[in-house]
């Protein structure tokens, strides 16, 4: 499958501040998550994808074209920004109507399409008479999402779309996004709500400090992590002795001993190597081990590890 978004050595500076640092990755069709803590470069990347910013160096293409000042490409992209910013003086239909005209939707279709989009994001009809400034955060998110869907984009770019939504709302939006993906719409979604991304997205791009730490399918990222630092919880009778033995062998990046229950938490340097030496090292230490737990391989753990 060909990539819809391609970044090659992409960098973006804001003066001396690095927004994106020489990143290269590809995003394929389907649902893709952008994960990273605040300041990781997610919003910068999204702004470049949607043609609001230009790269300082490197190239980013969407559907093979550069997005900056490219109306024909923007016709294929829908965007829902972060935050609560909406035209607060307007009612939702008024706002959507104006944006629909700008998008070039035929005048005869605008009314029905705007109403359909508001229904689609489940904005209650009783709220349509209110001005957007009077809306709750969740309702604003829904209207913002509706405007992004107005012109039937092939790629929908959502910056933190779940913010402010209640659990039911999140579920509804997730269902809608899956439905869109099933219809052939690609979705790039950034979020801090990792559990939802894990269940929603086929592939993930993990960003931190302006760099792509990992990208690809969830399985690929999980297999990658085997080669990274990993945490193990070991229940044993002499945790200090075991830790010293492993440390001397150069297998640990660090360790902690839980003062309450004496559990030894190991931060392993090279997970692949560690497991081949583990039995031998354990025998050499002479410590009796009651149990070993690896941390779960959820996306949240991966995210926590790679962004730590």
């Amino acid at each position: 499958m060909s990539a819809i978004i391609q970044a090659v050595e992409l960098s973006r500076w804001y003066g001396i501040v690095m927004g994106l640092n020489n990143v290269s990755f590809e995003v394929e069709a389907g649902l893709t998550g952008l994960v990273g803590p605040n300041g990781a470069g997610k919003s910068t990347l999204i702004s470049i994808i949607t043609g609001q910013l230009q790269p300082s160096s490197g190239v980013l293409t969407v559907f093979g074209e550069k997005p900056w000042n490219n109306p024909s490409l923007l016709r294929r992209i829908g965007y829902c920004p972060e935050g609560e910013a909406v035209a607060s003086e307007l009612r939702p239909l008024e706002w959507l109507r104006g944006l629909a005209f700008v998008s070039g939707i035929p005048a005869g279709e605008i009314e029905s399409r705007c109403e359909a989009m508001l229904d689609r994001v489940r904005l209650p009809r009783e709220a349509w008479r209110k001005r957007l400034g009077q809306y709750s955060k969740g309702m604003k998110q829904r209207v913002k999402l509706a405007q992004g869907l107005l012109h039937e984009p092939e790629l929908l770019v959502l910056d933190e779309p779940m913010n402010g939504l209640d659990p039911m709302g999140r579920q509804e939006i997730a269902t809608m996004l899956k439905d869109l993906a099933a219809q052939g719409v690609s979705v790039v979604i950034s979020s801090h709500i990792l559990a939802e991304l894990e269940s929603l997205c086929k592939s993930i791009v993990v960003l931190n400090w302006g760099r792509v730490l990992a990208s690809g399918g969830q399985k690929e990222i999980r297999s990658d992590i085997k080669n990274w630092s990993e945490e193990l919880a070991v229940e044993c009778d002499e945790p200090e002795k075991l830790a010293r033995c492993l440390f001397d062998a150069g297998a640990l990046a660090g360790f902690d001993i839980d003062p309450d229950n004496g559990v030894l938490h190991l931060r392993v340097k090279d997970a692949g190597n560690f497991y081949t030496q583990w039995t031998e090292l354990l025998l050499r230490s002479g410590v009796t081990v009651q149990g070993i737990r690896s941390q779960s391989r959820s996306l949240k753990n991966i995210f926590d590890k790679v962004t730590a």
């Binding site: 992209i77 005209f101 689609r120 012109h151």
Partner: protein
């Protein structure tokens, strides 16, 4: 056994996710006109809230109020000269009572003559032409006062006894002298006050500042509110976006300022300012060309910096008040100089500037069009190549 009840009426079915029109049915045709229609809709709708309209109306009434207060009506000026007929009549009765008590019908007759002649004079009084020399204006006023005096004496001669008439003659001689002396007093000329407020204050100060503020904020306010992204990610070029935003805002502004001008002329009319009918067409014509030019300048300054008001003031001082007053051809860079040339075609407005020559009307209009095109072109170029994004602004 109870009879079976009828089923309850169906309630409205809540909308279902996925009820949007099927994909692939949309044939969108984005373009300049469609974008203009959309942005115009967003612009006027945004301004048409009760709160916004109330504040706009309050702001629009401010200047007419100042005009009303400062531009004294023609009737007030004549009243200042002639005084109050009732007061004059009472003073006369006091003197006549020395001859013997005045009969009530005599009092009523004299009162009637004084009041009647006073109103007649107020209505017939001609204000001096706005461009008339001071001496000439004074002579005209004195003639009218003499006419009032002559009529009053003529009518009183027939209405009172010879003895009473002699008393009246003495009284009227002193009264006429007092009134004639008031003509020499400096008086706030209603026409000058109105035209100075209308042209020097409103047209050359308020109007450019309003345009600069309003159009400078076109993108700055959206950038601050973080709503610019909704427009920047629409399928229109950045150049087209600048143009449609500019046209929409300028059109809205032109309507508001036209209403403001109408209010000013209405206030002038109420205060009896002469020659408004001759001034209005050229004034509206000037405004029709000035608003787009100042708006384009405001747009450009707004795109250059978020301190566009300060930039506008600097521009005003350097180009309009500085370069515009240099008596060489370099002053053609000043838009105000061209507007003054335009107004020089009207006698009432020309006296405000004392122009050496009066160029053809199309020359200043062409200059305004060129100015608009230059400012707008620069704004478009800037917007095409410069990023307008919260992060990029923080960097600056």
């Amino acid at each position: 056994m109870t009879p079976p009840t009828s089923p309850p009426p169906p309630t409205a079915i809540p909308p279902v996710i996925g009820s949007a029109p099927p994909r692939g049915t949309l044939v969108a045709a984005p373009g300049l006109l469609a974008a203009l229609r959309g942005v115009w809709l967003l612009t006027w709708r945004r301004h048409c809230t009760a709160r916004s309209l109330t504040w706009t109306l309050v702001a629009m009434l401010g200047l007419p109020f100042v005009v009303y207060v400062s531009a004294v009506s023609h009737q007030s000026v004549v009243q200042q000269i002639l005084g109050y007929p009732e007061v004059d009549a009472r003073r006369l009765f006091y003197r006549m009572n020395r001859l013997g008590p005045l009969a009530p019908q005599d009092r009523a007759t004299i009162n009637s003559i004084f009041t009647n002649e006073y109103h007649r004079s107020v209505e017939a009084w001609k204000p001096p032409a706005t461009n008339a020399p001071v001496v000439e204006g004074m002579a005209g006023q004195l003639d009218q006062l003499s006419e009032w005096n002559r009529r009053l004496i003529s009518r009183m001669e027939d209405a009172v006894t010879p003895a009473q008439f002699r008393v009246f003659e003495q009284f009227q001689s002193r009264s006429y002298g007092e009134k004639a002396r008031t003509l020499n007093r400096p008086r706030w000329n209603p026409s000058d006050a109105f035209y100075n407020l209308l042209v020097q204050f409103y047209f050359f100060l308020v109007l450019p500042m309003v345009c600069a503020r309003s159009c400078g904020a076109i993108f700055r306010d959206e950038l601050q509110a973080e709503t610019l992204g909704f427009l920047l990610t629409r399928p229109v070029s950045r150049a087209a976006l600048v143009i449609v935003k500019y046209i929409s805002q300028t059109a809205w502004l032109s309507l508001l300022l036209l209403a403001q001008t109408a209010l000013l002329f209405l206030t002038g009319g109420i205060r009896g300012v002469p020659h408004l009918g001759g001034v209005a067409p050229i004034f509206v014509l000037g405004q029709f060309f000035a608003v787009p030019a100042w708006s384009a300048l405001g747009l450009l300054l707004g795109l250059i910096s978020n301190r566009y008001i300060a930039l506008a003031l600097v521009y005003g001082f350097v180009v309009e008040l500085g370069i515009g007053r240099i008596p060489t051809n370099i002053n053609t860079l000043s838009l105000m100089r061209h507007l003054k040339d335009l107004f020089a075609n009207n006698a009432d407005l020309a006296k405000l500037f004392d122009p050496a020559t009066t160029p053809a009307i199309w020359t200043p209009l062409a200059a305004m069009v060129i100015g608009t095109a230059v400012f707008l072109g620069l704004a478009v170029l800037l917007f095409m190549f410069r990023e307008y994004h919260v992060n990029a602004e923080m960097q600056r």
